[in-house]
Structures are given as structure tokens and as C-alpha cells.
């Protein structure tokens, strides 16, 4: 139980509400908060991507709805909300409708275990790295459901490609995370963050001993997110729209938004593992020891995640798509051995450090 929990109980008791109620409801509140925050972040992210792609390709990007196009995604989401939800005749209705529901659950859960600042972790378990790993791989299930239940050949291809991709790239991710766990001697995300504190600015970040791991993880995350150059499951020029070809209206919007939510969650995850999470890059916080320090820490995390997101969007504007066989080969032939090597390096650094 952490700071937030006590804050909440204290608040309830002040209004004469029994502690039992607080114990039960406490676990629902973070998810509500996350869901709302997520929506805001994702709407911003979609706009940011469109603006950045516009910038990279010398266009203006959305600039009509609201000042600087700020309300564009909101308008788009509203439009999708108003649209008809079409279920294809021969689709498996139950699974078809289940898939978009299922896709959001693991993402909200994954965001719940991320330490935004020293005290702001909604669910803090001792091995939440593993938990995150499982939750991050979970959306592929709904991708598969969507592809299978749509009864569309393009969707099926998209789902099959997605499964193959996640299967190949899950293994290097695990090895890289393991190397970070070795370096930090902790399986807790907060623990990993704190293990990166150092006296001199950002010298303690794991990106320095684990630059190889960082690169591997970054590539694998791109593949897991189906982002360019690994966007085969939804390759527009080949598979029309991949697994969500048959989806329309709000269901499509959910898939669309969940992609961005996952993008941001994974960007935060990389920042925590390698870029010191909520730690300030200057070694000390601007707001010293006041209450604002928590916001400052969250700011640093979001900033680092934004940089990662920016790079991912940048890559999308630059690279063409990989061929399907190269994609699988790239993982098994290059990334997997390198990630194992990275693990060895991490172990050696750890023990050399401990010995010295």
C-alpha cells in the first residue's frame, strides 16, 4: 500500500465513509483515472503523429478544427462514434464484438503498473516487469480474434502476420528485460528506476551499459506495435487495413486508439528500463522537496516517452516496409543472438561492478 492509498482512505474517513468501501473501490479508481488520462494522451498523440508526418512530408497537417488543429482528433473520434457499426454477415458475431473490448483491457492494466513518479504507482507488485511483459503481449490476442472473426481474407492475413511477428519478437524482448533486471537487481519497475540514480546527471541510466539492449528492445517494440517498418499486419498497400479491415464506427476507433495507447505505454516502458524513468536528467529536481516534485517526475517520464514516440514517428516517415520473410529472419538470426549476448554483457558488468 502506498501514499495514494492512504490519501484516499484519509479522504473517505473525513467524510465518514467506512474503510471497507475504500478498500474495495480503491482498485477501480486508478483505472478510471487512467482511462480518462489515456484518452487525452491518445488524442494528443494522434494529432502529434499527423502533425509530425505533415512536417516530415512538407504538408501542414490538420489545421482546421480548433486552434492549430487541436480538436481534429476529437472531431474524428466523434465522427466515428456517429457512424454505423457494421458486422459482416458471415462474421462470428460474438468474437467480432469481443475483440475491440478485449484490446483495451490489457493496455489500461499495463498503464496501471507504470510508476509515473515516486509515489504515483496505482498497482505496485514486486515483479511487475513480468506482469508488464505479459500485458504488452496480450493485445495480439484480440488482433487475432478480430482477424479470425471478421471472415475476411485480408483480416486473416493480417492476424496471421501479427501472430508470427509477436512470436518472433517476444523472445528478444524477454532477454533484454532480463538483462535490465540483472543490472538493477530488481523485478519491480520502481526498483529499476531507482537503480538508475547516480551522483552525476544521467550517468546511471542503463542505456550506457545496455546500449545494445536498448536498440534491440526499441526494434522489438516497433515490431510488437506493428509500427513501420514492421507494419506488415496492417500494411495498407498489401492488406488494405489488415486485421481491422471489417471494423467500422466506434469499434474501429477503439482499435485505432488502442494502437496509440499501446505505443505510448511501450514508450514509457522503454524510458523506465533504459532512460531512468521518472528520474530527472540533471540529477536533482527543480522543485526540491515540495509536493510538486511528483508532477516534475511525471513530467520527466512523459518527456522521455515523447522523445521515443517522436523517433518512432520519424522512422515511420522514413523507412519502407520490410519483406515478410526478412521480418522473421531478422528476429531469429540477428536480434535473438544479440539479445543473449547483451544478457551476458549485463551479467559481466554487474559482477565486475560488484567485485570492484
Amino acid at each position: 500500500m502506498n501514499y495514494l492509498y492512504f490519501l484516499y482512505i484519509e479522504f473517505l474517513q473525513r467524510h465518514n465513509i467506512p474503510k471497507l468501501f475504500g478498500d474495495i473501490t480503491y482498485y477501480f479508481i486508478p483505472f478510471c483515472i487512467i482511462a480518462i488520462a489515456l484518452l487525452v494522451v491518445v488524442l494528443g498523440l494522434v494529432l502529434a503523429e499527423r502533425k509530425l508526418l505533415g512536417f516530415f512530408t512538407q504538408r501542414k497537417g490538420p489545421n482546421r478544427v480548433g486552434w492549430w488543429g487541436l480538436l481534429q482528433t476529437l472531431a474524428d473520434a466523434f465522427k466515428l462514434l456517429c457512424k454505423e457499426n457494421i458486422t459482416p454477415d458471415k462474421a462470428d458475431r460474438f468474437l467480432f464484438n469481443l475483440a475491440p473490448v478485449l484490446v483495451f483491457v490489457p493496455i489500461i492494466a499495463a498503464l496501471g503498473i507504470i510508476p509515473y513518479s515516486a509515489e504515483f504507482t496505482f498497482v505496485n507488485t514486486s515483479t511487475n516487469v513480468i506482469l508488464y511483459l505479459i500485458l504488452a503481449a496480450f493485445p495480439v490476442l484480440s488482433v487475432f480474434l478480430a482477424g479470425w472473426a471478421s471472415n475476411n481474407k485480408y483480416s486473416l492475413f493480417g492476424a496471421a502476420r501479427s501472430i508470427a511477428q509477436v512470436l518472433s519478437y517476444e523472445l528478444p524482448i524477454t532477454f533484454v528485460i532480463l538483462s535490465v533486471v540483472v543490472l538493477a537487481s530488481s523485478m519491480n519497475l520502481t526498483g529499476i528506476t531507482l537503480a538508475q540514480t547516480s551522483k552525476w546527471w544521467f550517468s546511471g541510466w542503463f542505456i550506457f551499459p545496455g546500449i545494445l539492449g536498448f536498440i534491440i528492445l526499441f526494434i522489438c517494440i516497433l515490431a510488437e506495435l506493428n509500427r513501420c517498418p514492421f507494419d506488415l499486419p496492417e500494411a495498407e498497400s498489401e492488406l488494405v487495413c489488415g486485421y481491422n479491415t471489417e471494423y467500422s464506427g466506434m469499434r474501429f476507433a477503439i482499435f485505432y486508439l488502442s494502437e496509440y495507447a499501446m505505443l505510448f505505454a511501450n514508450a514509457m516502458f522503454i524510458s523506465i528500463l533504459f532512460l531512468g524513468g521518472y528520474l530527472s536528467p540533471f540529477g536533482k529536481y527543480l522543485f526540491g522537496s515540495s509536493f510538486l516534485i511528483y508532477f516534475e517526475q511525471a513530467f520527466w517520464l512523459l518527456l522521455k516517452a515523447s522523445v521515443i514516440v517522436f523517433i518512432i514517428i520519424w522512422i515511420r516517415a522514413t523507412l519502407p516496409r520490410l519483406a515478410s520473410f526478412d521480418l522473421i529472419k531478422f528476429s531469429w538470426v540477428y536480434l535473438l543472438p544479440l539479445s543473449i549476448l547483451n544478457l551476458f554483457v549485463a551479467v559481466i558488468i554487474k559482477f565486475a561492478g560488484a567485485g570492484g
Binding site: 506488415l232 522514413t318 519483406a323
Partner: protein, 365 residues
């Protein structure tokens, strides 16, 4: 329990992001491997040939730009050439220079669009916008000259509609393009993913290409030395560079188009230098009202961006042609897909089909 494996029939198109129009490919797939490919065309058929039989030549002239909306000048040039040949009219030197300059600019714009579309097929979105930016300069110029961005109707029987102007715009295009081509080289050609997607993919042997009647850039990138511009009287006096590549793959087809843009720029430069010094246009246009071609068969062909385009007219001395036939390059490229895509994987197949530069209005006529 017994399991049976069957192949999967996939309808690629007619509405599909990468068929560049309304081409339908009926693919038989084993996993993602293509076992057979059956192109189905005709979704964009406008009856250009039937239409000609009911129209006088001057009525028909504005419609021929629509055969290939990316290289409209080539088709109006063909029809004009047929009429000029039949009535034995010699076009003045300045008209020739104007036509050559506009044709080559049109070729550049067409190739630029292809580069963007090809990269789009490969999954890279940015080059599409970059090449459109450069193409836009050329289209703006065409608009200034002819009043239209794509359907020009600028060449008329015996000459051009009005004298050429705004030559400084062409100067600007020629000065900007080389640096942009350099940018493409840096962005695209050195990209390892791009190289892996195009090298050793879509190998087209010279013999196969000839057997399938593939002409133009696709044939030249398979090592054949065949360019009808060298025998073309329109181009006589112009120094044309040869672009022949031996690699036979998608990369060669990409490189050939980049090189061809560079060669076209040189031709445009020659025409431009001539036009800058040339006096005001003096031309004797053929009066198109009640114009009748003498009895006979007339052929004309030209090196269009997508292979040889040719026009055949049989006239019985009437106002309308008795029969008019177009030969377009893309039509044969579509036929080639039957052979070229077999044995490839779906996402390579898209890239290979894209590399052939198929434009559907040209196929369907």
C-alpha cells in the same frame, strides 16, 4: 481426423490501395505464396476506340488525353501525327521543339509520380509527397501553357494551340530537379530495407520481356537496346542519351526511371535553348472542319513513359476514321503479371506489380 489443405483465392482489387486504379487480380495463394495470378481488367473501359468511329478527328482530339492521364501529351501527339502524316503536312521546327519539350517534361512528371507510387507500395509514405512536390512544378507549368493540369488538349493538327511562353518556369524546374533527385538517392537508394525489397525481386529476362511485348523503360532495364525515340523524326536533331541497365530486377526498373528523368532533362534543356532564341511561332494549322483523311492505313508510334504507344487509323476518306486502334504499354504489362507474380510472396508481388508502372486508364482504354 483427416486434414485437407486447399489453396486460398484472393481478390486483389478492383478496389484496393495498391492496384493504382481499378485492376482486379485474382490470386491463388498457398499461405502467402502466389500459385497463379489472373488479371481482370475492364473496370475503367470508356470505349475510346468505338467512340472514335462516331466522331470527327477534331472532336476526338480532346478525349485522347484521357487514355493516359499521367502522360496525356503523348496520345494527343500520336493523333496529331496520324493526321499530319495522312495530309502530308510538315510541322515547323519550332513546333517540333515545343512538342519535344512538353513530351519530355510530361515523361519526367510521369516517372516522378511512379517513383512516389512505387515507394508507397513498398510502405514508405514520404517519397510520395516529395515526388508530388516536384511534379507539381511541372503541372503548374502545363497549366500555364495549356490551361489544364492533366488533360491538356494543347497539340492540334499541324501545330500547337498557341505559342509557348513562361520559359523561365522550365528553367526553374531544370535547376531544382537535380538536387531533388540527389535527395531521392540519399533517402531511397541507400536504404537497406529498400535494397532488400527490390534487388533480386521481379527478375524479368530480356527474352521474356520481348515475348510479352514489354517495351519502354521496363524492357530497357532488362538489357535491351530499344528506344523508338532514336528513329522518331520528331526527335531528330536532339541528342538523346541511352539508358540501358542489365540487372533485370525491380531495382533496375527504379534506377532506369531515375536515369531517364536525367536524360529527359537534357533533352528539355536542348529544346529550351532552341526555344529561347526562336522567333515567334508561325504555323499553318490544318482546318479541322470537315477534315477528311485520304483513304488508307496510317500508323504512328511514340516512346511513351510506359512503353511504346501507337495509333492505327484506317480511313475511307470520311470525316470519321473507319477504325482506330490504340496500342498502350501498360496493357501488356498487366498480361505479364500472369507470369511474373507466380511463386512470389504477397508483399513482394505488390512491389513487383508496382515496379512495372501499370496505369489502368491506359490498360482499359
Amino acid at each position: 481426423m483427416t486434414t485437407t489443405t486447399t489453396t486460398l483465392k484472393l481478390n486483389l482489387g478492383p478496389q484496393h490501395p495498391s492496384t493504382h486504379g481499378v485492376l482486379r487480380l485474382l490470386l491463388e495463394l498457398d499461405g502467402e505464396k502466389i500459385l497463379s495470378c489472373e488479371p481482370d481488367i475492364g473496370y475503367l473501359h470508356r470505349g475510346m476506340e468505338k467512340m472514335a468511329e462516331k466522331m470527327s478527328y477534331i472532336q476526338y482530339l480532346p478525349t485522347v488525353d484521357r487514355i493516359d492521364y499521367l502522360a496525356g501529351f503523348f496520345y494527343s501527339e500520336l493523333l496529331c501525327r496520324i493526321v499530319e502524316k495522312a495530309l502530308e503536312v510538315e510541322i515547323p521546327q519550332k513546333v517540333r521543339a515545343i512538342r519535344v519539350m512538353l513530351l519530355e517534361l510530361n515523361r519526367i512528371s510521369s516517372h516522378l509520380l511512379w517513383i512516389g507510387m512505387f515507394l508507397m507500395d513498398l510502405g514508405a509514405t514520404s517519397p510520395f509527397f516529395y515526388t508530388f512536390r516536384e511534379r507539381e512544378m511541372i503541372l503548374r507549368y502545363f497549366e500555364k501553357i495549356s490551361g489544364q493540369r492533366m488533360m491538356y488538349n494543347y497539340f492540334v493538327f499541324g501545330g500547337v494551340r498557341r505559342d509557348i511562353d513562361y520559359l523561365e518556369d522550365v528553367d526553374e524546374i531544370l535547376s531544382i530537379l537535380p538536387s531533388k533527385l540527389k535527395d531521392y538517392e540519399n533517402l531511397i537508394e541507400k536504404n537497406p530495407i529498400f535494397i532488400r525489397r527490390v534487388v533480386n525481386k521481379g527478375i524479368l529476362e530480356k527474352e521474356t520481356a520481348l515475348n510479352y511485348s514489354i517495351t519502354g523503360v521496363n524492357l530497357r532495364s532488362s538489357g535491351a537496346d530499344f528506344d523508338t525515340r532514336f528513329q522518331d523524326s520528331l526527335y531528330s536533331g536532339f541528342d538523346i542519351g541511352k539508358v540501358i541497365l542489365k540487372e533485370k530486377n525491380s531495382m533496375a526498373r527504379y534506377r532506369a526511371r531515375i536515369l531517364e528523368i536525367k536524360e529527359s532533362m537534357k533533352i528539355v534543356r536542348q529544346a529550351l535553348d532552341y526555344l529561347k532564341k526562336a522567333p515567334a511561332l508561325e504555323q499553318k494549322l490544318i482546318n479541322p472542319v470537315n477534315m477528311k483523311l485520304p483513304e488508307g492505313d496510317y500508323f504512328a508510334d511514340i516512346e511513351a513513359p510506359r512503353g511504346i504507344a501507337s495509333c492505327f487509323v484506317r480511313s475511307y476518306g470520311e470525316k470519321e476514321p473507319y477504325r482506330l486502334k490504340w496500342r498502350t504499354g501498360s496493357y501488356y504489362s498487366v498480361n505479364l503479371l500472369r507470369k511474373l507474380l507466380v511463386g512470389e510472396y504477397l508483399n513482394d508481388a505488390i512491389a513487383i506489380a508496382g515496379s512495372l508502372d501499370i496505369i489502368l486508364p491506359e490498360v482499359d482504354k
